[in-house]
Symmetry: C2
Subunit: 198 residues, 2 copies
Amino acid sequence: MSGGGKRVYLAGPDVFLPDAAARGEALRAVCAAHGLAGVFPLDALAGGDAPGWAGLPEALRIARRNEAHIASCDALVANLTPFRGPSADAGTVFELGYMRALGRPVFGWSNAAAPFAARSRAFCGAAAARGADGAWRDGEGMLIEDFPDMADNLMIHGAILASGGVLVAEEVEAAGRWRSLSAFGACIAAVARRLSQG
Amino acid sequence: MSGGGKRVYLAGPDVFLPDAAARGEALRAVCAAHGLAGVFPLDALAGGDAPGWAGLPEALRIARRNEAHIASCDALVANLTPFRGPSADAGTVFELGYMRALGRPVFGWSNAAAPFAARSRAFCGAAAARGADGAWRDGEGMLIEDFPDMADNLMIHGAILASGGVLVAEEVEAAGRWRSLSAFGACIAAVARRLSQG
């Protein structure tokens, strides 16, 4: 199913697409073209679910399964395209943090190119304003992070860079936001280069 | 600064409050009342920054520092109150995933009590609709997770339960959303009980 080569976990809200399985195959094909084995969150575990999970609700079984998938991979690639807000999908971000703590390289790609600060201000709309200290704050007084060159919250972009990964962001028009493979392809090429260094 | 006792990392968007340092002390006082040492993301590292971080931009130094803080703690408690969208703050979610992969218990609290499915549908507004298969989807066709009893994306709630932690959610009116310590206090009491079991 996942072929030979180093294993790459494909985190992202692609699992929410109406044709999620086909999307997984499309992502996997790009990986295969670079000699990598893509692991999609909807894949069954090689050894099946652990016996102890049988009594768990489905949501909790999925969570255990994805943690096991990540632990079985050599790297993680996250679709960080903003999802229902200025940041990436929460499940994707969780998984990125999980792999980072395992000490393996993490990568990101996004089909939105605006920096996180600009996206966050746009999300907050007219309520976003500079305070007396010059810092941007939302309508509740909460700071709007304004660090240069961050594509999302600094923990996300910081972890990718610290791990030796890269973050590829390209602006894609709304109709292709969940379809374009351009940034993903560039990201997978970088993963292949990184993992070939051992 | 953090007193004696087991160390608990206090993840959350509390760092974005105008009086973030005072907020950190308020959270720390609750921890101390339960014999725990609260570690706030804005704290300096006990041993200072690593020499190699000197040339990094501030955002990346903060990311390294918080990863080191988490690795120094016995448990993590996340403020999962929805932040600029239906899910928790992205940095907080990253940190929860990081600690989960370290194999230590993770806990969550939220000042919003509606389930994730209901919050997500509300965020998507009139665009949210059931498809022919009965599943809720947003205006782009992306699935709206609809698992029972999940307070956020299933990776988040699943990790908390799998680690032996708890998630405490209480509805707080908007004015007190970033101030109430009620759910936090209940969560910290659960952390103290869990960590006293060794």
